[in-house]
């Protein structure tokens, strides 16, 4: 089992790492408010998108460089390491200066030039599984990063495309278990995308990821979900996230699970 270190956080060990934050950075106030709250609740990493690959072009596309500055502020004010998505190989350098972990989204899991570019850096890379990627295809994509010398990989199951109409995606907990048997990289679960659009399911989906063995969780949290510029329908409120963290800690501490959060 690989351990990926981010500052003094060890991912892939006994502690399950929760990364939380909004889908998209919208303003400094929004970001700092959420970051302070999720930190207080026990999140160890702050997530927040500034380059947003959206299905529809008219959707909010992220604050881009202005957002990167806000992420810097968040880290200064909270000390939390930052995970943020990069979608364009030309942005890798800029994102490198701010991010502690690169996130490669599911749409880009086979964007090989992008994978090569982050592979040339020395920062951890979370590669989300493609929406219809078999595990062997997924892990083959990961090799584009490791072959460049960067073996600080985090895997992430974020839901597949199946027949669902009740949720946008189908969280595949089997994949979390299977990835732990065919790879040595830490595996995150993303219950927010995994239940796509159903914030009422996120908490239980997060608990499911935990009990099947995920090494980390990626959870979308917003101080005002109703006003969110991106995926508000799957964001937890600060209060809901705080309650969820208590639940997760309680579950993690059972003999059945045997982890720490």
């Amino acid at each position: 089992m690989s351990i990926v270190k981010v500052g003094n956080i060890e991912i892939g060990g006994n502690r399950v790492i929760v990364a939380a934050g909004p889908c998209a950075i919208e303003s400094e106030e929004q970001a700092v408010t959420i970051a302070k709250a999720v930190k207080k609740s026990g999140a160890l990493i702050f997530r927040g998108g500034v380059y947003k690959p959206r299905t529809k072009r008219v959707s909010f596309q992220g604050l881009k460089e202005k957002g990167l500055k806000i992420l810097e502020t968040v880290r200064k004010e909270t000390g939390l390491p930052i995970i943020t998505e990069v979608v364009d190989p030309r942005d890798v350098e800029k994102v490198y200066r701010v991010a502690d972990i690169f996130q490669i989204g599911s749409r880009n899991f086979q964007n090989f030039p992008l994978l090569v570019e982050v592979g040339k850096t020395d920062k951890p890379v979370m590669i989300k599984r493609g929406m219809n990627a078999r595990l062997d295809v997924y892990l083959s994509a990961v090799e584009y990063v490791t072959a460049e010398g960067n073996e600080r990989i985090l895997l992430c199951e974020r839901g597949i495309n199946a027949l669902e109409t009740h949720t946008r995606n189908t969280l595949d907990i089997n994949a979390i278990m299977a990835l732990k048997t065919v790879s040595t990289f830490p595996v995150f679960g993303d219950p927010s995308h995994g239940t796509g659009g159903r914030s009422d399911m996120v908490g239980r989906a997060a608990m499911a990821c935990l009990v099947v063995g995920a090494d980390g969780l990626l959870i979308e949290v917003h101080n005002k979900p109703d006003e969110a510029l991106c995926d508000g329908d799957q964001a937890l409120t600060l209060e809901q996230f705080d309650g969820l963290m208590m639940d997760l800690k309680e579950l993690a501490a059972t003999n059945a699970v045997g982890r720490i959060i």
Copy 2:
């Protein structure tokens, strides 16, 4: 929320009901041995197939009427109510005499003459979701039973067909949560089929079903999985099942889950 009563067991209430037993009844000794063991571990219902719908015709097709007699013996010796699959409308009467709960398998979830036949009886019916059935199609099939006057329905998520090669099926925990919002019937999870062929995943998948809100679990257990005539690769040993029940009880008792087993 409907409560379905089986003897003095209430399904759909706070207690999560575990039904356990072999894929197929192979002999009286096998059945009674397993039934006594799972009862001791806390299972409240015994499952065991005697009419086996198998993909391949050369596979073991079940002991049929001889198996029904064994099921009667199991109930006499253990007091456990019996759930067993019926696949042919002409067998409903025979199975009725022995079973406490009819099981309709995923291949037959739209076998309407069969659904009508069990709908005419007064015994509970577990209808497994079809392998690629959207929830609205699944619940439309259930109406073939209820329209006959039998509203003692148990739903069951048992895995969908997706892209998987690591497991035979993909357990869809989103469906468990969604079914609880669009229907009032109790919902079971079947972690054995849901992880199809991977007994090493069954325990964790069962825990996932529990934490997302399943009202019951259907688990395959065998005293000698290596010698099982059916699906031995997904059966838990008696010891594994006993360990799992302790884990499930511990998890159920947390505030996060708040159930009893």
Copy 3:
């Protein structure tokens, strides 16, 4: 390559056999009108359902025995052999008396008691591929029929469940080609279900089935699609079917296709 004979029609030879008729038999007048018309246009087999397995129980379920009598009349008046679906093993005997070919629908492709029952007869059986059945699983189901001694099998591709929202099903022409390489049974295409709900696509889908090598076509035709009790949205009018048959004959006669219709 197997040849299946129905009267003096040979299925699986150079001639591509068109079976046409309504989704459901609604009245003698409707059935006879359609049968005479499709015969005149060149159909060699009449299709018409009297036992209708419908997703929703409130949908028209077919005329059942009354419908069987109408099918007898159709054969008397037109001489066309009849293909009709059987869904209940208890109906096999009744249907046997009228049908020239048993049809097993996609929902029942793994209804093993039903397959065994038609396998005991001496009449051809068309087994439609399940909506999400891999070809090996499909052909394994066929063995339940052949093992009883009935090797007069007709395969049929009728569309799979994929991600479509533009049509109810996705016609899988690759499957038609693949079935011809892994099996010796004649293969039909069902462009009506394969494009589910889009009568504007049926003709072109039928042509596609022809050019990739289908040995037969199963096409839904109705004299008044707007008033049809079942799947009117995918039925061709008598005029459209007549035009299609001319197109199919023209295509079949090319060197590129090299068949007769």
Copy 4:
């Protein structure tokens, strides 16, 4: 219906345009040999990849800039316009100098920075449908190109991911028909990827694309498929392609199809 002009070729009109060539450019000799042959057989566009996005990193990744030079030579020697894939936004300028049509592969159909970059140019862009993209999601991606001012769009159906084990992909001819009703852009079919890995099916799949209404065909051809560095198992030989073109011309000329090739 939009017409996209490439030199004096009109795509989207009555003539069905065939683009043919190898999966990957391997050498000048290979490229020129194939280009001359496919031109002689009636192809109007030459296809050949020089930037190859491969599932596995150890697979041949294309000749890159050296390949672009070969493509220039091909055009000089044959006069055929060139379609070639671009995978990295940083390569758009280089590819622009050589290509007549940009190809965006299915893995990159939601690579928005890449789409924006080709959208800023004045050359036609073929965007392949993603392997599991619903049509609305596909067309939403296209808007990233048109919003930049480039409306010279070619759509392309290249197979979806379904349950297949007999082919790598499932050609979705319904999608070709549906795209023609929900969009005005010309629609290509790609029978080579659509039957993934089965050169014995490519010809019939191409005929199917033609008869359902495709405005163009993208076909992989190699002078020595057994020695091809990429996807040789789905390449036609020069002779097979020549025979196919005769078949396609014959079919196109029927009244049933009513097109020219």
